[in-house]
């Protein structure tokens, strides 16, 4: 039975009104046909292409163009973008706020990226931060996060979180005696900070729909950091324990909130970590392959049971 036959049936049984029937039948025939998604993708691609060209041009021709012209041009773009956003934005609200129009989010995203280009230019030509890139990243991260909360923009929120991650990484990269393992505590600290910040802001009702962005980024970084500890040849026990605790937390959260990406993290990351430890103590190809057969089947059965219980829920 096609959707049109079903709609006719529902109309006859009184489940839907004639107006609803006409509208829904139209939608099923693509009348009207929305190109909302396509326009958004083109805008995103356009902004990225423009910024890439801007950065490339400024880098290549800064000497010929002169600092004044470059800075004036960048400042003009920046001011125009932020003026547009400030003049068009709705009053601030704690809850999710729809964009006033199609291009609003992209103008803000464009302005945020121009800000980075201009600040980087200023720093490199005039050394206003005396090479303190970590300070620059922190300021940028704070600005992005403020803009994201003011204008309810997930693009800029992600930029802010990536800048904050850059600040954590860059701070430690300046240590002269750093080793790769030094990054791990900072990655974990960043994950916990981002996750906690997201949870606190959610609890206070400040843009609660941002929580999933925080948690997905935090969870992935945390699992990668813990896995890198498990991959060590010595002293991996504590990291394995931490990995299993994180797995339990991710599974509990995922099942309780029906956020199945966290269930997926809880299945894959610990499997990789535990397997890496077990396999290094198993000798012989046959034993290794047998391990993967048995453990894989066990995981598959558990996941199928889980999938059966939760069905198609997203």
């Amino acid at each position: 039975m096609t959707i049109f036959a079903r709609l006719d049936q529902w109309k006859e049984s009184g489940a839907i009104s004639s107006e609803q029937h006409a509208y829904l039948a139209g939608l099923s025939r693509h009348e009207p046909f929305s190109i909302f998604f396509e326009l958004n993708v083109l805008l995103y691609a356009g902004v990225l292409a423009f910024i890439a060209g801007l950065g490339w041009t400024v880098t290549t021709w800064s000497r010929q163009l002169g600092d004044v012209l470059v800075l004036a041009m960048l400042s003009l773009l920046l001011a125009a973008s932020f003026w547009y956003c400030l003049s068009r934005a709705a009053a601030w609200s704690r809850a999710e706020t729809p964009s006033p129009n199609l291009i609003f989010d992209y103008v803000l995203y464009f302005g945020s990226l121009v800000w980075s280009v201009e600040l980087a230019y200023l720093e490199n030509r005039f050394h206003i931060l005396s090479g303190q890139w970590d300070d620059y990243l922190l300021v940028t991260a704070v600005l992005y996060l403020l803009l994201a909360y003011r204008f309810d923009n997930r693009f800029v929120l992600s930029l802010g979180l990536s800048s904050l991650a850059g600040w954590f990484g860059l701070t430690i990269s300046q240590w002269p005696s750093r080793q790769d393992a030094d990054y791990r505590p900072y990655a974990i600290l960043y994950s916990l900070t981002a996750g906690a910040a997201g949870a606190i802001l959610h609890r206070f009702g400040l843009k609660p729909h941002f929580l999933s962005t925080y948690l997905n980024i935090a969870a992935n970084l945390l699992f990668w950091a813990l896995l890198s500890g498990v991959f060590q040849s010595h002293g991996y026990g504590v990291w394995l324990l931490a990995l299993l605790v994180a797995c339990g937390a991710s599974l509990a959260w995922g099942l309780a909130r029906r956020q199945f990406s966290f269930v997926a993290y809880a299945a894959v990351y610990p499997y990789i970590g535990v397997s890496s430890i077990l396999v290094r103590d198993i000798h012989g190809d046959s034993a290794v392959f047998s391990y993967f057969v048995v453990s894989g089947i066990a995981m598959l059965v558990m996941l199928i049971l889980l999938a059966r219980r939760f069905g198609r829920e997203a």
């Binding site: 039975m1 959707i3 079903r6 839907i16 829904l24 009207p32 046909f33 929305s34 190109i35 909302f36 998604f37 396509e38 958004n40 805008l43 691609a45 356009g46 902004v47 292409a49 423009f50 890439a52 060209g53 950065g55 490339w56 041009t57 880098t59 000497r63 010929q64 291009i103 995203y109 990226l113 980075s116 980087a120 230019y121 490199n124 090479g131 890139w133 997930r154 992600s158 930029l159 979180l161 800048s163 991650a165 850059g166 600040w167 990484g169 860059l170 990269s173 199945f260 269930v263 997926a264 894959v268 046959s286 894989g296 089947i297 598959l300 999938a307 069905g311 198609r312 829920e313 997203a314």
Partner: protein, 401 residues
């Protein structure tokens, strides 16, 4: 011939539409609950994350089982003699997929999908092993064309039987390998690939027409879009010069390897094809074909200068970005001028909750990734001047700016 009953797939489609309409407020909660009960079917589905994880673990199991078999029983057998066993594993994997579909009623469940993928992989490995004779590969060995041909045919069958869109893509990816065993002429290879895709497109036109607005329409739409894109990529020689096989082997390719008439004919075609695809997509209100047309149009703009041998300028991406943004603004303005924001059946308003979901996922993922991509360094005109060395992040101000 489909693995699932049409009634079940229509019911799933209706269920998906109802959920979408309820999410958009076109139906009340009570209406949705009532109508949803009438779309029940016995197919077992799961959400996208569990589907991916189930796919992953099924691949692990199958790979481990096969590796264990070969290690235990065939460790001293030659590669050629292992061929029949790969073919047996291909058959077993496919049978497993059929079992999970017919017995357990799995639908897009990850497990059966991984088994079909394994069956294609084992089939190709089996043929490769059987045809391998250990000789020096100085001449193309025509019988080896069976490897990609078998892979393409089985992928096509899996697409038809299980309705997996990426199986159609896999079938298409096998096609460019086929003519390389027949001829060493690059133009001939391009023509053969384009001809095979064109034949597929004509067949698609014929089988698609009666299925408009049915549950099959989406799958056919994706397949048609992929075929259009495949034809475009086969004729755009600048894109084909970026052949990953050549880059991997360090073989630099140049336009000079193509005869001039052929080269300039393809240049004309890359300008002709995107408007044709876009027109077809817009006329049929076909989302995937429109997307294929847009991708082809952007690729034409990007590859035009290399085609003509003109130097690239640093501001070219800015021009491209400006064109894209201006086009969007014009279309939005034009649509907004219509009654209710609708013109000729098109609107810029969001009518589906799926758009919102995709946008949400996209903004999180792309926003986090893009800063490192968009400020790729170029060769500065003045080598003494370069920006700093931030290592990561920075929302667009990453290292070597």
């Amino acid at each position: 011939m489909r693995a699932y009953r049409a009634a079940d797939e229509e019911a799933l489609r209706a269920r998906s539409l109802l959920k979408d309409w309820a999410g958009q407020g076109f139906l009340t909660e009570a209406q949705y609950r009532h109508m949803e009960q009438e779309t029940a079917c016995d197919l077992r589905r799961t959400n996208i994350f569990l589907r991916i994880v189930l796919f992953f673990f099924t691949l692990v199991i199958v790979a481990a089982v096969v590796a264990l078999f070969f290690t235990t029983f065939l460790s001293r057998t030659s590669w050629q003699n292992q061929g029949p066993f790969f073919l047996i594993f291909a058959a077993l994997s496919y049978a497993g997929a059929e079992f999970f579909v017919s017995g357990a009623r799995f639908y897009r469940h990850g497990v059966e999908e991984a088994l079909t993928a394994c069956s294609v992989g084992f089939l190709c490995m089996g043929f490769e092993a059987l045809l391998y004779s250990g000789r020096a590969q100085t001449q193309p060995y025509r019988l080896e064309t069976l490897v990609p041909t078998a892979g393409a045919i089985l992928s096509l069958w899996i697409w038809h039987r299980f309705g997996l869109p990426y199986a159609f893509l896999a079938a298409m990816l096998f096609v460019p390998w086929i003519p390389s065993y027949w001829t060493s002429s690059q133009p001939a290879q391009h023509l053969i690939v384009a001809a095979i895709y064109s034949a597929g497109l004509i067949a698609m036109f014929a089988i698609r027409a009666p299925q408009r607005f049915t549950y099959l329409d989406d799958g056919f739409s994706i397949a048609e879009a992929l075929l259009w894109l495949g034809i475009y990529l086969a004729i755009n020689l600048q894109v084909s010069l970026l052949d990953p096989r050549g880059l991997w082997l360090g073989i630099a390719r140049s336009p000079a390897e193509f005869p001039k008439p052929f080269y300039w004919t393809t240049w004309v075609l890359i300008w002709f094809l995107p408007p044709a695809v876009l027109t077809r997509g817009l006329r049929g209100k076909d989302r995937w074909v429109i997307a294929a047309g847009l991708v082809a149009a952007i690729l034409t703009l990007v590859t035009n200068k290399p085609y003509l041998g003109w130097p690239r300028h640093t501001w070219d991406p800015m021009l491209l970005g400006s064109v894209l943004i201006a086009a969007v603004l014009y279309i939005r303005r034009w649509l907004a001028g219509g009654e209710g924001g609708i013109r000729r059946g098109f609107t810029a308003q969001r009518l589906s909750g799926k758009d919102r979901v995709w946008m949400s996922v996209g903004t999180t993922a792309l926003g986090f990734v893009s800063p490192e991509q968009i400020t790729q360094t170029s060769q500065p005109a003045n080598p003494e001047f370069r920006f700093g060395r931030g290592d990561s992040g920075g929302g667009g101000a990453s290292s070597d700016f």
